[in-house]
Amino acid sequence: MAEGKSRRPEVAGPEPAGTQSASTDKPAISPVSRRPRVGVFVCHCGINIAGVVRVPELVERAKTMPGVVVARDYQYCCSDPGQQIIRDSIKADKLDRVVVACCSPTLHEATFRKAGEEAGLNYYRTEIANIREQCAWVTKDRDEATDKAEDITRLAIARATHDESLEPVGVTVNKRALVVGAGIAGIQAALDIANAGYEVVLVEKQPSIGGHMAQLSETFPTLDCSQCILTPRTVETGRHSRIKLHTYSEVAEVSGYIGNFKVRIRQKPRYVDFDACTGCGLCMEKCPARVEADFERGMGKRRAIYRLLPQAVPNRPVIDAEACIYLQKGKCGVCAKVCPTQAIRYDDTEKFVEEEVGAIVLATGYELLDHEKMSAYGIGRVPDVIDGLAFERLLSASGPTQGEVKRPSDGRVPKKVVFVQCAGSRDREHGMPYCSKICCMYTAKQAILYKHRVHDGEATICYIDVRTPGKGFEEFYQRATDEGTTYLRGKVSKIFRQGDKVMVWASDTLAGRKVELEADLVVLASAVVASPDGVELAKRLKMQLDGHGFLTEAHPKLRPVETLTGGFFLAGCGQGPKDIPDTVAQASAAAAKVLAMFGQDKIFHAPTTAWVDEDICVGCGNCELTCAYGAVKVDLQRGVAAVNVALCEGCGACSVACPSGAMSHRNFSKKSIYEMTEEAVR
């Protein structure tokens, strides 16, 4: 929720009845019912502005501009006395609009608008002329800067002259949240929201919750067992009276707007009646079909009826239809025969569930880079080249080898393991240009754990840099070297099979030589990428993604868990690679933002939105195609576009796309743009 929108809860705005009506009111046409009375306040900003722009001269010039009844300057307009000057002037000079020539509106627009409001001026009648970032900071010559500042101020006055009094749009909030993805991020966010007293709908595509954390062995930098710290959370989530869990499900559709979303959830056929099933596991013991388990990442097999792990929440199996002999060939039926509670449903189909929520947290997590992208590293072709998650499964006490490190090709215990960092990370040519952030740490961890399992084993780590910014991280890396891991600085160029060995071509850039390492097993720290299913969902929801598919936050520093679309929040690796502590912190932050929203009965949305002049609109639909927020729709019955003001972010794209001029923007009308342009080219 943007701060600007949740402002002033005491002022109840017009209720958007179905939210369309507000958009069709024509702004009152009252241009010269009264001559505008504009006050101009020029800020020195210390020497930031006054050191370049001749402020007194600018004030004198402003006094002569049309509509201006008073022009003044002050050292720091944003200070209390500075604001007081503006407030006093509004009253004394009967101002009906204010222009503050100062810094960027992203910094103090709200400050000055609020000051004006306190003196009885409508919030949306104060405009900013940015003469700092767009003038003083980028201009050297004082004459030039003063002229430019004059132009900018004149334009802002022209704009202010057309400003209407507007009231923020109030929207009621449905105090239920949807969380998509039940990795540790989604789990944490769901628990925080639920424990604060609100209902949560948690959707997970896998048969059980936990995400990648459920695959890990022990976790850096403390080496506590991942399952042991995760299961209390999964159990609490599964039992929570306010968390409604939809596993083996995906979000099919989201409609509505902040505070009032409708969500359609698609539940994949499970072929098991979860209410009848007791989770006894007999079916899984008897099922004759065995296939590679995705969860084990090629290190182990599962049955056609399966659960991901013994501690699964919910502890119910599902049937993999492609592997199931009965569903493929109509013969077998062993699971149905042995089930003591007749819970098997071979005729199960996909189902749809509707939920209504007010806020949505996206926590769709990550995957590792596709093997195909790293053909020089042999992964996918050479059985004893595996990725980090596969090695976690080998190390895991509940994994396919019960924690014994055995290599996939022949089950032998590898005596020489080479770990390759930056396999696809920091690699503009083959993989991803960014650093995956967690690999230095988990590779050190895996080397330590390997040596704990195989005492005479040799662990070598090929790295290009070791990055350990985190509490206890550098010490942990030191521990890896102290315990005998060899660090070799240089990028690996090629990995291939030779006999029953795996050869690694690398370089030792410290010694300045090429090296060839012989290994029994090679573990790649493959680049962390945004989960493809998360990307697909985000695209459907029109979320902003960066060039690599990670969710973009509303502001990289100041609004790190909000998205640019109202009501959508983000947490976890779907936003960028990160470790568990960062993931959990971010998830709690997202939950806090949701709770801040739920703490209000209504939220307020800036009324500076698009609006349609229905007399001109021909319903061509260009605006609908252009809108990134799904806020404009053509009303097919009436043949005109309608703006949902609760969704509209006021970006202006639709007004630009509109061929007839019917679409406009409140307090940034075509007329005001023309007049500003005229002033600019005068």
Partner: protein, 284 residues
Amino acid sequence: MASYAYYPGCTLYTKARELDLSARKALAVLGAELEEMPAWVCCGAIYNTADDDFAGRIGATRNIVRASALGDTLVTLCAACYNVLKRAKARIDDPANAVERERVLNFIDEPYEREVRVVHYLDVLRRDIGWDAVKAKVAKPLAGLKLASYYGCLMVRPAAVLDFDDPEDPQVMDELVRALGAEPVRFDFKTECCGGYLVVNRKDVARESSARVLENARAWGADAVITTCPLCQYNLDRLRDRDGLPVLYFTQLLGLALGLEPDELGFDNCAVDPRPMLAEKGLL
């Protein structure tokens, strides 16, 4: 019948005669013709990278100028000729070298009729003829044959200039192998060094390099290695004892698949005779 200006280069007249013969004959079956360009000269054998030594690139450029009399495309087969000619052409095409281009063309002082594109024979198969058309002409599918396509360095690097294929995992010969009904072997040494000219003064180094290529191809189950580079063929085929994997020019197997007589394809020029292997696979 489509006709292409063709630059054979010296090796295809001597040591790699079978590459030249099999390529011409195979292309004829596919409905195209290689027309040897008039008065071709040495390509220079290695591309001269010294910036100011453009005299070293004059031979290659002269070939391009002369080829312009025949058409806008110049086809080569030898990986080294291809590398040198294509890079020489890119050099004079670069707007940054406009002055050099003028000096070189003035020095050559022969009519440069039109811009000439330097392409490899494999480009003709891939782009002009197309794999489907090749497949349609296959008379004897090479079923059961596993082939490791070895590209070496000259075909693919420098990647930005040659723009021929993925410099680390090239595919064009593998695509051809598939079109001929054989099975491409995905091995790790497609573009590793064969030893190159080190065969002249450091035979031991070249021997080690080429042996590893063969070893890896064999480990992945190849029945033979194919190449388009006479130097690669030489190093792989001759720097070893007389057994092991046959090393052939891709054109020889192309010809075989297209139904040419085995006797026309120069199999007897290989140090390791591929015929017993081919016979065993029922292809002879």
